[in-house]
């Protein structure tokens, strides 16, 4: 969805393109670099908020029987601290680097869907503001960032606190999934010529793994939150024990998300370190393919270990043992990464910059966090450690010692690229040492506190438990961390005003972002580079020296044959390689758009409306729908829109749709799993066999199957350019979709007449939510088809637009196959 904004070549393209620097230009920006900066600034602000929450908690816990804050305030503080740091600080910090650096590192001009990128950011901001607005109405979430049901149900948390939490988490999830799809397509499909997957920088690889984790892990928690929302707003029984529900459902759904989330938080930092260490050791990453495969394995196994957060719930010895073993297995690829980093430093020529300090700090600190993690991979040990300060210490060694140290390494490393100025290295090192000391003073004693039994999430503790002294030390340490963060802010402001100007390549970098100016022009590269291998820019600079000095061990050196020849060729010619200047005179840049922020405002209004009045929900939803239509259609006739084939030779939109459908598999998988897990648990009737009408459903199933046939016929017609048939079949598909919805409306009303509603029993809750969400998907599909039909009637759906019909078709068929599964699993199986 690239609009054209023709920009003349040259370093002053920004000025020439009329891209200003006013507030409006930031609101409407679709430039990945600016969006990256927006993410970074927002993340820092929320990081400060979360940090202040932590400091208040530490003040309360500095002494026994303290009264700095009360119980409810403290509970709100730890809930908001966790939620904020995870969703509003570390994730967007990573997103900032991802946005800014991934296109540069793969030699692209922007992301695949620049406006979608802006939409993701604004939705994130809407969710973040909405969550924190809870403070101003005196109802901050207070049931923990993990929100264990049934404490979160209306019965035990009657206030709006939990509503703020569950609504904003859904909004933030939507933002993350949209961004995830966008970046998967970007990385797969927008690589510069020669950038094979194995030549991608490790940071880009980790970004790719993380985006897959996001796209696949958020649907389960979204479903869990939808259940909670329905329980709280509409009286369903998903977490109602008296109706037969199993409270562990929430815990499973939460941790199926929650464990991959740990890797979502840590893998970007691993990626950053994997770039920083080679640069400052002046030596390639040791065993880069193994580091990449380890990251992929960690991501994959990350979906199979969630229950190690639940060893105390009583899953039984078999499940405990199984999840314990898989969890221990994950330690292997993690350990491999650490050893490869050590081997990268070994034999290098280490330049001790601030960025390197933080990267080395990560190795040391994360090792501690990783190893304490191995300790509670063992269920018996975990039963003594879980929910104590030992675990608090553990995950802060992972999230501060790992993620935050990595992100600071990235900040010092890429700051000159982003701002064009250098940070003060001396102040940076002071900041590093203060953080290292403050962090260890805060969290190392917490291992001990946990070992002598101090539980988590307690707002106070009595004297005489032996916990007093080290709690005080921990509190003092926390202020050390705060001082360090303050010094970073000072350094940043100083640098922006008076920092030394940075060259394009201040660190003698190895990857493509150092090949363009600091900061990069709006179009990133004047000409797209040709990629010769891993560390392509280093090869470009050092040529034969780098190539000949390299000892190719293991599988590290494969895939360089053609590139090797090219290397020889251009070094012979004595000039840097670029792809042939295809569009030599103009670079297509996406035009700014204000629809993303309007859509996000609509979503924020709708969320607020859920707490105020249904009319506001409708108003917000209308704004969102209208702006999304405007968004989708604003560049419809743009010629730049037609050809979006990328590295894979496939249209971006098609790759995006398949990625999204993968995410949808997880969404419907979770809904179906819940239906099946709750089968037969309803304590009152009516039960499925008394009420399900198989003949009627068979007819509607047949109808939906036939609509899929019409859909492919429509696509074939559009591809042939047969407009008459295309119109006919599109109309037919939409009509059959409407008929299906009619069947569903009939089914729902007859069930309600027979006494089955959402609120009747578990069967009613699971049945209506599952089939209702399917119906909502069908409705969305019909709306999409009608839009295409209108475009066609206006003569605006030519052969060149076939991919638009194709992606609509993919969506439609997916909805069909979901129904195939539902028909069998819900209706036919007795």
């Amino acid at each position: 969805m690239m609009a054209t904004h023709e920009v003349a070549l040259g370093h002053h393209a920004r000025e020439q393109a009329g891209v200003g620097s006013g507030v409006w230009s930031w609101i409407t920006t679709v430039d990945h670099k600016r969006i990256g900066i927006l993410y970074g600034v927002s993340a820092f602000v929320f990081f400060l908020v979360g940090g202040i929450e932590a400091l208040i908690m530490r003040m309360q816990l500095a002494r026994p029987d303290s009264h700095v804050v009360g119980a409810d305030t403290f509970n709100a503080l730890f809930t908001m601290h966790g939620t904020t740091m995870v969703f509003l600080a570390i994730m967007p910090f990573s997103a900032a680097f991802l946005n800014y650096m991934v296109p540069l590192m793969i030699g692209a001009r922007d992301v695949a869907f620049p406006r979608l990128n802006a939409l993701s950011y604004w939705i994130f901001l809407a969710g973040a503001i909405f969550l924190n607005a809870s403070f101003f109405v005196g109802a901050p979430p207070n049931a923990g960032w993990f929100g264990y049901a049934n404490l979160t149900t209306k019965q035990f948390s009657p206030g709006a606190n939990t509503d703020f939490w569950l609504l904003s988490l859904q909004v933030l999830g939507a933002s993350s999934v949209l961004a995830g799809v966008n970046f998967i397509v970007t990385i797969l499909n927008l690589r510069a010529p020669g950038m094979t997957l194995m030549r991608m920088p490790v940071f880009v690889w980790m970004a790719l793994v993380v985006q897959f984790l996001i796209v696949l892990a958020f649907p389960p928690i979204t479903v869990g939150l939808i259940f909670l929302m329905f329980d709280r707003f509409f009286g369903t029984h998903f977490y109602d024990v008296t109706a037969g529900a199993d409270l562990l459902l929430w815990q499973h759904l939460f941790w199926i998300f929650g464990h991959p989330e740990v890797y979502i938080l840590i893998l970007p930092a691993f990626g950053i370190v994997s770039e920083v260490l080679p640069t400052f050791a002046r030596k390639p990453l040791f065993g880069a393919p193994v580091v990449i495969y380890s990251g992929v394995l960690i991501g994959f196994f990350g979906f199979g270990v969630w229950s190690h957060h639940m060893f105390a719930v009583g899953m039984g010895p078999v499940a405990d043992a199984a999840f314990s073993i898989v969890t221990m297995l994950i330690a292997i690829p993690t350990g491999v990464k650490i050893f490869n980093w050590l081997a990268t430093l070994w034999g290098g020529a280490i330049r001790p910059t601030t960025a390197l300090h933080f990267a080395v700090g990560l190795i040391a600190m994360f090792t501690i966090g990783g190893l304490s993690g191995v300790m509670h991979a063992s269920p018996p040990v975990d039963l003594q450690q879980t929910d104590t300060y030992f675990v608090v210490a553990h995950f802060h060694y992972v999230l501060i010692g790992g993620s935050l140290f990595g992100l600071f390494a990235g900040a010092y490393y890429w700051w000159p690229k982003i701002t064009g100025r250098l940070l003060n290295e001396r102040l940076g090192r002071v900041q590093f040492w203060i953080l290292l000391i403050g962090f260890n003073a805060t969290f190392f004693p917490q291992h001990y506190l946990g070992a002598i039994g101090m539980p988590r999430r307690i707002y106070t503790y009595p004297a005489g438990m032996g916990w007093d002294f080290w709690n005080l030390v921990s509190t003092i340490g926390a202020f050390g961390i705060a001082l360090s963060v303050f010094l970073f802010a000072v350094n940043a402001i100083w640098s922006l005003r008076a920092g030394a100007m940075a060259s394009a390549d201040p660190w003698d970098g190895r990857t493509l972002e150092w090949r363009t100016s600091s900061p990069p022009p709006v179009h990133n590269f004047d000409d797209i580079p040709l990629v010769l291998g891993r560390d392509t820019y280093w090869r470009e600079k050092y040529g034969r020296r780098a190539a000949s000095a390299s000892t190719e061990g293991g599988s590290g050196g494969r895939g360089g044959g053609a590139a090797g020849a090219q290397t020889e060729a251009y070094f012979a010619a004595g000039r840097p390689p670029t792809s042939p200047p295809a569009a030599a005179h103009a670079i297509h840049l996406p035009a700014p758009s204000y629809w993303p922020i309007i859509a996000a405002i609509g979503i924020g209004v709708a969320a607020a409306g859920a707490l105020l009045h249904v009319a506001i929900v409708i108003a917000g939803a209308l704004v969102t729908v209208v702006s999304l239509f405007a968004f989708a259609l604003e560049h419809h006739r743009n010629p730049a829109h037609v050809h979006q084939d990328g590295t894979l030779g496939i249209d971006h939109r098609k790759v995006a749709m398949w990625t999204f459908l993968g995410s949808e598999c997880m969404f419907f998988g979770t809904l179906i799993a819940t239906y099946l897990a709750y089968r037969g648990r309803s304590v009152v009737g009516p039960h499925p066999h008394e009420i399900l009408n198989i003949p009627v459903t068979s007819a509607s199933t047949f109808d939906l199957l036939m609509s899929s046939l019409l859909m492919v016929l429509a696509l074939a017609a559009v591809q042939r350019g047969d407009r008459g048939q295309a119109r006919l079949w599109l109309f037919g598909t939409a009509l059959f979709g409407l008929i299906f919805l009619g069947f569903q409306a009939y089914e729902f009303t007859s069930f309600i007449h027979e006494g089955l509603t959402l609120r009747t029993n578990l069967f009613g809750s699971t049945f209506f939510v599952l089939t209702g969400f399917h119906g909502a998907h069908v409705s969305l599909g019909v709306a999409w088809l009608v839009t295409l039909l209108v475009l066609d009637l206006r003569g605006r759906l030519g052969r060149a637009d076939a991919v638009k019909v194709e992606i609509a078709g993919l969506y439609w068929h997916f909805v069909d196959i979901v129904w195939i599964a539902i028909f069998t699993l819900v209706y036919l199986i007795p």
């Binding site: 797969l188 796209v215 696949l216 389960p220 199993d246 562990l248 459902l249 499973h252 199926i256 979906f303 199979g304 229950s307 899953m315 039984g316 499940a319 894979l648 030779g649 496939i650 098609k654 398949w658 990625t659 459908l661 993968g662 995410s663 598999c665 997880m666 419907f668 998988g669 979770t670 799993a673 099946l676 897990a677 709750y678 648990r681 198989i694 068979s698 199933t701 047949f702 199957l705 899929s708 046939l709 859909m711 492919v712 016929l713 074939a716 591809q719 052969r799 076939a802 078709g809 068929h813 069909d816 196959i817 195939i820 599964a821 028909f823 069998t824 699993l825 036919l828 199986i829 007795p830």
Partner: protein, 108 residues
């Protein structure tokens, strides 16, 4: 146009199924659906009705994905993007069912 040449489709020149193929697939889908409905009313099939239904459902699912969604003719990358998550989703469905189902017999 973004068609990738078919890798292993002999009777398709542009990497594309013909309208006739689509109609054939639709007929098979209809037939299998009819069979599904038939199977549940045949008493002597009761012991194996669940695996039978699951197999038929999976077959329908596969037909739609392979032909209507063109996965059979499209890039392997797209297959990976869909099948990977599908497998993870199915494993999680089974794990969730057994974890929660097992609790029923354990706890009650």
């Amino acid at each position: 146009m973004t068609e990738i040449p078919a890798v292993s489709e002999p009777h398709s020149d542009a990497g594309h199924a013909s309208v006739a193929t689509y109609v054939k697939v639709a007929l098979i889908l209809t037939g299998v659906t009819a069979l599904e409905i038939g199977v549940i009313s045949i008493r002597f099939l009761t012991p194996i009705v669940v695996p039978l239904l699951l197999a038929m459902s999976a077959a329908k699912f596969a037909l739609v994905v392979l032909f209507f969604m063109h996965l059979r003719y499209d890039s392997r990358v797209l297959s990976g993007l869909f099948i990977g998550p599908l497998v993870i989703a199915m494993v999680i469905v089974l794990a969730l069912m057994s974890l929660i189902g097992a609790f029923v017999t354990f706890g009650r």
